[in-house]
Each structure stands twice: as C-alpha cells, then as structure tokens.
C-alpha cells in the first residue's frame, strides 16, 4: 500500500487539476453562450443567401460570371476552420478525420493553429494559415475568403470548399464539408444541411426559367457573389467558434467530474492507509507493554 504521504501528494495535485478545469469550464460556458447566440442569429441570413444562390445557379448562364463556371476539378481548394487552442475534446480530431478522407489533390487555407499544424504534419499543401481569435470579426474572415477566391480566379484551385465543425447543439458538433464555388454544386448540399437543422424545405421552385435582373445581371452578380462567399465563410467561422466553446465546456466538465471521482477514491485509500498505520502503532505499543 502506498504511504500516506504519497497519497496526500496525489490528492493535492488532483484537487488543483479539478480547480483549473472547473475554472476553464466556467470560462468556456460564458464564451459559449455568446458564440452560440452569434452563430444562431446569423444562420437565417446565411441560409437564405445560400438558398437564393442555389435558385440563381439554375437561371443564369455559366459564362455570365467567373464564379459560375464549372471547371474540371484537378485541385480542390479547401478552407479548413479549426481552433487555435486545444483542450476541446475530439473537436479538431473529428474534423481532421474528414480531411484525411479527401483523396483528390487539394490545397488548404487554414483558420486556427491546430489545423495548420495538422496540415503541415501530414504533408498536405498548405497555402496560408490564419489565426482564429475569440472575437471572430467579419473583416478578418473576409481576408481568408478573398484569398481563396483569388486562388480560384487565378486557376490555382478549381473549387472552394469549407470544412468546419458545424454546431448542432452543445453536445454535438458535426464535421461538415460544404462547397461554395462553383455555385452549381451548392444546391445538393443545401437540402441535407437544412433537413439536419430541422428546417422545412422550401417548395419546389417555379417552373419558369426567366429571371429579371435589375439594373442588369452582370452588376447584380458582381455585387452578390463576392458577398455570398464572404458571408458564408464568416457564418461557418462563427459556427466553428460556437462548436469550439461548446466542445471545450463539455470536455472540461468531464475532466472536472473525473477529478472529483478520482478524489473520492484517493481519499478512501488515504483514510484506509492512515487507519492501518494507527492500528499498527497501537499494536506495537501494546506488544511492547506486554513484553515489559
């Protein structure tokens, strides 16, 4: 049996760990609330926009805008959204699993240090990495989105896709891949996402194929399409942030509960060892008296 001093030392260290994880849980919980609110508020906008674009893809000629052109996919362009910090359970690992399933050649732009490390470690083609601060600002994300769009327009990559841990609820985050460009691929994915989020699918679009653009198609598309890409990536970044804080809170809660349980076991063991020690001493004293 371990000596009482060893057990006492372990109890102390477990107690410290519990205190830290408890504090981290509380911090994550408060950040989570904000992040979730931000992600959920923006969802309606992003979804409506994606839906609008999906309908649009049917109605315009591919030649009308560079974003609509379907090319032979040789290299996929993927924006990978992860967290900067660890200690958030299996969140990042699950996302990386999705990445390893991609067998076609792909180039990556990564938000978050964890993702950048993973891409570098597995010798994938990392184009650029960006930090993922706690305050996800539209301006920061715009830089990432515009970088990837530039790669797309210059022909370095033939698609723009996003992989991020999609926030479903506090306990579940689903790693998801969503294509952004070219637009024609958006529609198929959209239906899945919507049914998953528990939203009703809109009625089938009207049969007429004409669509009126004002002032004209080119200028509307020029304004709408870049905004669409920026907004979608921003929404996914917010979503990833909500996922991160949720995952961290859950992970920290589990760690705290484990520490509490371990503490109970250790205390029991310590008391047993202490009692055994006392019994031993009494026995020795009694034996000595008896002998005298």
């Amino acid at each position: 049996m371990a000596s009482t001093r060893d057990i006492r030392r372990r109890i102390k260290s477990v107690k410290n760990t519990r205190q830290i994880t408890k504090a981290m849980e509380l911090v994550a919980a408060s950040k989570m609330k904000k992040a979730q609110a931000a992600a959920l508020a923006g969802r309606a906008y992003a979804e409506l926009m994606a839906q609008m674009l999906g309908a649009l893809a049917d109605r315009v000629e591919e030649s009308q805008h560079a974003f609509l052109a379907k090319r032979e996919v040789r290299t996929r362009g993927i924006i990978l959204i992860t967290s900067d910090k660890g200690l958030c359970g299996p969140l990042n690992t699950n996302v990386f699993k999705l990445v390893t399933e991609i067998k076609t050649p792909a180039k990556y732009a990564v938000i978050g240090r964890k993702g950048a490390q993973f891409i570098a470690r597995t010798h994938r083609d990392l184009l650029a990495d960006f930090p993922a601060n706690d305050r996800t600002s539209f301006a920061d994300i715009k830089v990432v989105a515009e970088f990837m769009v530039k790669q797309f327009l210059e022909g370095h990559v033939d698609t723009v896709e996003v992989i991020w841990p999609r926030f479903r609820n506090t306990l579940t985050q689903v790693p998801t891949l969503m294509p952004l460009l070219p637009l024609s691929s958006v529609k198929d994915v959209l239906a899945d996402l919507r049914s998953d989020a528990g939203l009703t699918a809109p009625a089938a679009p009207a049969a007429e194929n004409q669509m009126l653009f004002e002032p004209d198609a080119a200028s509307v598309l020029d304004a709408l399409l870049p905004l669409y890409v920026n907004r979608e990536v921003y929404q996914h970044a917010l979503d990833a942030k909500a996922s991160e804080h949720s995952a961290r809170m859950v992970a920290m809660k589990t760690a705290k509960d484990n520490a509490t349980k371990l503490l109970g076991d250790l205390t029991l063991e310590y008391n047993k060892a202490r009692q055994a020690g006392i019994t031993q001493e009494i026995l020795e004293i009694a034996a000595a008296q008896y002998a005298a």
Binding site: Y45, L48, A55, R59, A139, M211, L212, E214, S219, R231
Partner: protein, 135 residues
C-alpha cells in the same frame, strides 16, 4: 394569393409575414411587388421599405442588400433593417453624431472603416426619415 415577405439581416430575422404588397427601394428606383411578379433579383438601396397588409402600411428602414422575388415569396437580405416602431429617435441621433464626429476626427482612416461609417450615417439618416414622416 398573398405574398410571403421575409426580411433578414446578419443579426436577426427582422420581418416575416404574409402581406399584400411591398415597395422596395432599389438602385434603379422603387420597385412595387404584387402577387404574380416574375422572378426578380435586384440590389436594395438605402431607403424606406413599405409593406401593406390589409389596410395597414408598415414602414421599415433598410440599408444595402439584395431582394429576390420568386413565385409568391419575397426575400430581402439587408445589411441593416428595422421596423418603424423600433426606431429610437434619440439613440439614432446620438449614433449619427458619433459617426460624423469620428469621420471628421480621423484623417487617414482605413477604407473599410470609412465605408462602415458612411453606411452608418446613411442608415441613421434613413431611420430618422422613416420615423419623422408621420408628423
């Protein structure tokens, strides 16, 4: 057949209802939408958006974005939007003043910030116009 109107901003869903007609401010002037409109995609300008339902007309202040008409559904994606009764005149005036001061104070301000302030000022102006038109 009534129209379904949805006005959504990045912050929230501002308006969602079945309506009779809506007049949207666009870059090419005001566009009135009645049931049976052909599919339309247009750019929304800063301005006043009018919604008529029965005999009631609701006013909203909107700033830049897009509007889509498809079948009997009208979607408006705006940077900002607010219904008339929610506009707080004093708060808007204060915000307007702050933005103008900031614009004056800063000499070499970065273009993004400049654009943001401009949007804020124009949107504040629209809000005030909507609020005051009743008097």
């Amino acid at each position: 057949m009534p129209l379904t109107l949805e006005i959504v901003t990045p912050e929230a869903r501002v308006y969602s209802d079945t309506i009779d007609t809506v007049v949207i401010p666009t870059t090419t002037g005001e566009v009135g939408i009645l049931p049976g409109h052909i599919p339309l995609l247009t750019q929304v300008e800063h301005g006043e958006l009018r919604v008529t339902k029965g005999n009631v007309t609701t006013w909203l202040a909107v700033s830049g974005g897009f509007a889509e008409v498809e079948g009997d559904r009208v979607h408006v994606l705006a940077e900002h939007a607010i219904t008339e009764e929610k506009i707080d005149e004093h708060a808007v005036e204060a915000a307007l003043k702050r933005a103008e001061d900031e614009l004056k104070a800063a000499k070499d301000i970065d273009p993004q910030q400049y654009e943001h302030l401009q949007t804020l000022i124009r949107y504040s102006g629209t809000q005030l116009a909507v609020k005051r038109r009743r008097r």
